[in-house]
């Protein structure tokens, strides 16, 4: 099928984009890489009357590395970040997760912020943003605000984004020395959405986090104390707490099993000299 008709605004700068989004209200949408939006348009799951293409706004195509944060503009493509020479050193979790996002042919167009805006419960990038405690910067005509990732994602494909508003950048806290990071995923085939994806961080004081995507309607985090004698029980309780459902790709039971086993392995990898 083909998309329903829409006006297309090819914004040259932020004020053009924000004005068009403001005018279009709930009927307007941003188009970035189009890798999730165009399938939805083609299947007529979405029929906005205005699309605002933001990919040619120069200030949105920057990767800004500060001492403790990496800010990624809304036009930065997934493959551009993948090739950023400092990625493995500054954002080891994202470095490990990015190759799992779709296929090269899709990462060449898809943006980091577009994946965050789309908020698929199985998507790797929202998972990483939550696991690292990142933030999302949103802008509308007269207001800019920064929201913690864990508050931005509100449900399956539903976020805190308001009508007339767009994501201008996301911000990932950079690697801290002596913190360990690990990412693991199980999918039907490489490049498919995750059945279960796990991201672990292990801090120098011994505490750790495990964030799991693909099970609940948003990625969820389990905080773990330094003493992990009862790790199996905690993982089991967490697996049930996520309220997995049966679907085409996997049963709820298989998902719970993956949370327990893959979760344990991911934590172990993040903590090379412990456990």
């Amino acid at each position: 099928m083909k998309p329903a008709p829409f006006d297309l605004v090819a914004a040259n700068d932020m004020s053009e984009a924000l004005e068009a989004l403001h005018q279009g209200g709930t009927e307007a949408r941003v188009i970035a890489g189009g890798q999730s939006l165009v399938p939805m348009l083609n299947m007529r799951l979405a029929s906005p009357t205005t699309l605002v293409d933001i990919t040619r706004i120069p200030e949105l195509s920057r990767i800004e590395a500060n001492t403790d944060r990496i800010n990624i503009g809304a036009a930065v493509r997934q493959s551009t970040l993948e090739r950023w020479p400092d990625l493995a050193d500054r954002l080891p979790l994202v470095h490990a997760a990015l190759p799992w996002v779709a296929h090269t042919q899709l990462r060449n167009r898809g943006t980091i912020c577009g994946s965050v805006a789309h908020a698929d419960p199985s998507a790797e990038l929202p998972l990483c943003l939550i696991a690292l405690g990142g933030t999302v910067t949103l802008r509308r005509r007269r207001k800019t605000r920064e929201v913690a990732a864990r508050d931005f994602f509100q449900g399956m494909m539903s976020t805190d984004l308001a009508p007339g508003e767009m994501i201008v950048s996301v911000s990932f806290p950079a690697r801290k020395s002596s913190t360990g990071y690990a990412f693991r995923e199980v999918a039907r085939r490489h490049g498919d959405f995750a059945i279960v994806a796990c991201a672990a961080t292990a801090r120098p004081d011994g505490t750790a986090t495990l964030t799991v995507g693909g099970v609940a309607d948003t990625p969820r985090t389990l905080e773990l104390p330094a003493d992990r004698a009862d790790l199996d029980d905690r993982l089991n309780e967490f697996a049930w707490h996520l309220q997995a459902r049966d679907d085409l790709h996997a049963t709820a039971r298989y998902r719970r099993d993956l949370v327990r086993k893959l979760g344990r392995e991911t934590l172990k990898e993040a903590l090379p000299c412990r456990d």
């Binding site: 006006d7 297309l8 189009g34 083609n42 042919q105």
Partner: protein, 168 residues
């Protein structure tokens, strides 16, 4: 503000296989449709129109991408390369030749897209490992041939592009 209204066609300019082209397209027109219906470049195939099958893969500024997930207008100013740009004059490229020799296609529906992904892989990396070849192919579905002959053809083409022995 450059607003392209939905009921009219608007000019889109890009280069196609090195030649500048200009087409008129509605804002909602997909790049696949602009190529096939407006320009008549039907080498690029359309399977699923949601990014899954890879039949429509073209190169956009040297990188493989799904033409079915691009609005025609998003190609403005880009260098688009399609399967029609692979051969030089009337001769098949080494990659196309290897596909023929290794029976790496049957109906050919998937082939144009696969060739564009492999060509984009080999251009900067003529000695790509088999893993990288398989990774590039993982973005493509072939419903006839099976992937073994396609991998063999890619390996043979790689050796030929490098100037090594012809058989992998």
């Amino acid at each position: 503000m450059p607003r392209l209204t939905k009921d009219e066609t608007h000019p889109v300019r890009f280069t196609l296989n090195g030649r500048p082209v200009s087409v008129r397209a509605y804002p909602r027109a997909l790049l696949t449709d602009a190529l096939r219906h407006e320009i008549g470049a039907t080498g690029t195939h359309v399977g699923c129109e949601h990014g899954v099958c890879g039949a429509c893969t073209v190169q956009v500024d040297g990188e493989p991408a799904r033409a079915c997930l691009m609005l025609a207008r998003q190609a403005e100013g880009c260098e688009i390369r399609t399967v029609e740009g692979l051969n030089n004059k009337d001769a098949l490229s080494p990659l196309q030749e290897a596909f023929r020799e290794h029976f790496a296609l049957q109906c050919g529906f998937c082939t144009a897209g696969i060739l564009m992904s492999l060509d984009a892989l080999f251009s900067p990396q003529p000695d790509a490992e088999e893993d990288a070849i398989r990774e590039a192919l993982s973005g493509h579905l072939c419903r006839c041939t099976g992937y073994a002959p396609i991998v063999q053809a890619a390996l043979a083409a790689r050796n030929r592009i490098k100037g090594g022995p012809i058989d992998a």
